[in-house]
């Protein structure tokens, strides 16, 4: 597709209306062989449309070429490197897709009788057991459809247990480096949010945490390793303190990629955990999803899990148990995103226990390799080895005239997908990097060389950064203007001659 050749378009992606031509159509239907209905008589004039619909008038080939053209503008994990791997997209092995597409899985209906899908139920039960083992929990629900929904489910489970104990607790504690979903989830579940600051090493300040804990504390939400890629090495003391105050520990599994097979949230003292199958277990996300956020719990929380639950009857057959009097209720229609669960199960079984441990080891090794390669130009805020990810601070570059945003945009010109910038907020001019286990040393070296080259450009050719990206279908978007005065609806050009049909 030739972008920018349309005389009406200036630096804009074409819309299907650009191809519209009066009278053109994809399919011509024969004249009806039954008498037409009198719409006006049937509906009355109030319900009858008088203005034309303004739909694009295009042939099938126009539609195919337009949308194929758009698809070719995409950058994907199948075309290049994503430096913020699992958060944006970790490579999706194709065997996962083969499994999920098998007709026995892809052609079942959620309302079909359970005795007709014993194989699928067995796989779902296996997945519950496997995720429980990986996370060190006693029971798992596969129902939540995303990480954030898993979080919400987990916090509702905590609330249900606290209420069942006859207690009133109104505060959930989150670290200042937490994912934004943590305080949002707490607020959605009706909790007040208390923020515990980071200590000098980038972890939870234990003394400050103890100062926040009291009889109003429902629990602590924690990601370990945290968003800075730093392992909370005082986690056992943290867990003990929270439990001593009568609170529960919630594990945000967003960073579980770093710990697979090495350490389990359940063994660290967590009571509830969600896992992002679309991150850790390589299923699609970032617009290509859907996601899946199974939740694991310790036995004490099991009665509250969303129903129905899989159970084995006397003959050993799996059935759905709908009799769950203490359940918080359904959180998703039917049984969750089953196709995604199957993909993740394929990923887990194709690696095996040792393979999953290798995933974590390689992810951590890759992150630390990049940290060492980048350290002289792009330091991290805390001088510690990291787990699966690192947060660079571009405060030095900012002083020299290029912001984290400029560097990220310039990466696009080098064929690299720009990672998250300005998060977490505790790091100035933050740029997050998570190479994941799937990238080769050559890819990592190319990325480090690219960042070094961009760093040199700050003095040599600063306009290359400020105006980046240069080689994309659209140039740098005005993010502020897009947020202040968004233009989200296409309108026909003022002069209809040669233009599309006016709606």
């Amino acid at each position: 597709m030739a972008i920018g050749t349309d005389p009406r378009s200036e630096d804009r992606i074409p819309v299907i209306y650009d191809r519209s031509h009066p009278g053109r159509r994809g399919v011509r239907l024969p004249a009806p062989d039954v008498p037409p209905l009198d719409e006006a008589a049937l509906l009355g004039p109030a319900l009858q449309r008088t203005a034309p619909l303004g739909l694009p008038e295009v042939a099938e080939s126009d539609v195919v070429r337009h949308y194929t053209g758009l698809s070719q503008l995409n950058y994907g994990v199948d075309t290049g490197f994503y430096p913020l791997g699992s958060c944006t997209m970790k490579y999706n092995p194709k065997v996962n897709e083969w499994v999920a597409a098998l007709p026995g899985f892809s052609r079942v209906h959620p309302l079909q009788p359970e005795e007709t899908i014993p194989g699928l139920l067995e796989l779902m039960a296996s997945m519950e057991r496997i995720l429980a083992e990986i996370s060190g929990m006693d029971a798992v629900t596969l129902q939540p459809a995303a990480g954030a929904q898993g979080e919400f489910t987990g916090v509702l489970l905590m609330r249900a247990l606290i209420r069942a104990r006859g207690e009133e607790r109104h505060t959930l504690i989150v670290p200042d480096s937490a994912h934004g979903t943590n305080p949002a989830t707490a607020a959605m579940a009706g909790y007040r949010v208390a923020v515990v600051p980071s200590n000098a090493r980038g972890g939870v300040d234990l003394a400050a945490l103890k100062g926040l804990l009291n009889s109003d504390t429902a629990g602590l939400m924690l990601t370990n390793p945290n968003t800075l890629g730093l392992f909370e090495d005082e986690i056992l003391e943290i867990a003990e303190a929270v439990h001593a105050a009568g609170g529960l520990l919630y594990y945000d599994g967003a960073n579980a990629n770093a710990i697979l097979g090495e350490v389990r949230p359940g063994d660290m003292g967590f009571d509830v955990v969600h896992l992002n199958l679309h991150k850790t277990f390589s299923t699609p996300h970032g617009g290509g999803g859907p996601g899946s956020g199974p939740v694991g719990v310790k036995a004490v929380l099991e009665p509250f899990l969303p129903g129905p639950r899989l159970q084995r009857d006397a003959s050993g057959r799996l059935t759905w148990d709908h009799q769950r009097p203490q359940s918080i209720g359904k959180v998703r229609s039917y049984y969750g995103n089953v196709g995604i669960v199957l993909r993740a199960l394929a990923y887990i079984l194709s690696h095996g226990p040792e393979g999953l441990r290798d995933v974590a080891h390689t992810a951590v090794l890759n992150a630390n390799y990049l940290r060492a390669r980048l350290a002289d130009r792009y330091p991290t805020r805390y001088d510690r080895s990291v787990m699966h990810e690192l947060v660079l601070t571009l405060a030095g570059q900012k002083v020299r005239g290029a912001s984290a945003l400029d560097v990220a945009k310039r990466l696009i010109d080098y064929g690299v997908y720009p990672p998250t910038v300005y998060f977490p907020l505790v790091v100035k001019e933050a740029l997050m990097v998570e190479p994941t286990e799937t990238e080769s040393k050559e890819t990592l070296d190319r990325f480090a060389d690219t960042l070094a080259a961009i760093d040199r450009e700050i003095e040599e050719a600063p306009e290359l950064l400020h105006d980046a990206p240069h080689a994309t279908p659209v140039r740098r978007l005005n993010e502020a203007e897009a947020a202040r005065r968004p233009r989200i609806r296409w309108a026909p050009p003022a002069d209809p001659s040669g233009g599309p049909a006016a709606p």
């Binding site: 945003l405 300005y422 993010e479 947020a483």
Partner: protein, 126 residues
């Protein structure tokens, strides 16, 4: 250290709000630079009671969403309507046309307690 310009005729909070002698409140040059392009402001109604150190509004930029903390206790006497429609005024003129609210207060405007003078704000670790 707080970067950007710091005016001598204002008092400051550690959260980067300023207040002038007439009770006008805004965010500092350092704050607008750190926030990046401001795209939305949530400001209180005239007549609302605000507490010193408590949240009185929200500022959203392309980078983040941050609470605004009141430098004093008092009543909102005026709200800058222009800045609601043109949040970029906060970036362009944080000490002038980008003001946010004016608060009627009986609090003494002096360094110490919640407020810093210009010298104190310049030295603030950030």
């Amino acid at each position: 250290m707080a970067t950007g310009s710091v005016l001598d005729d204002r008092w400051y909070t550690a959260e980067h709000e300023w207040i002038a002698a007439d009770g006008t409140v805004g965010v500092t040059d350092h704050a607008q630079d750190a926030l990046g392009d401001v795209v939305f402001l949530e400001l209180p109604e005239v007549g609302r009671h605000v507490e010193r150190g408590a949240v009185f509004g929200v500022v959203e930029s392309v980078k983040s969403v941050s609470d605004l903390f009141s430098p004093v206790t008092g009543t909102v006497a005026a709200v800058n309507k222009a800045v609601k429609d043109q949040p970029e005024l906060v970036n362009q003129d944080p000490y002038g046309r980008g003001w946010l609210v004016r608060i009627d207060t009986d609090d003494q405007l002096q360094a110490g307690g919640h407020l810093l003078d210009a010298a104190g704000y310049r030295e603030l670790p950030t």
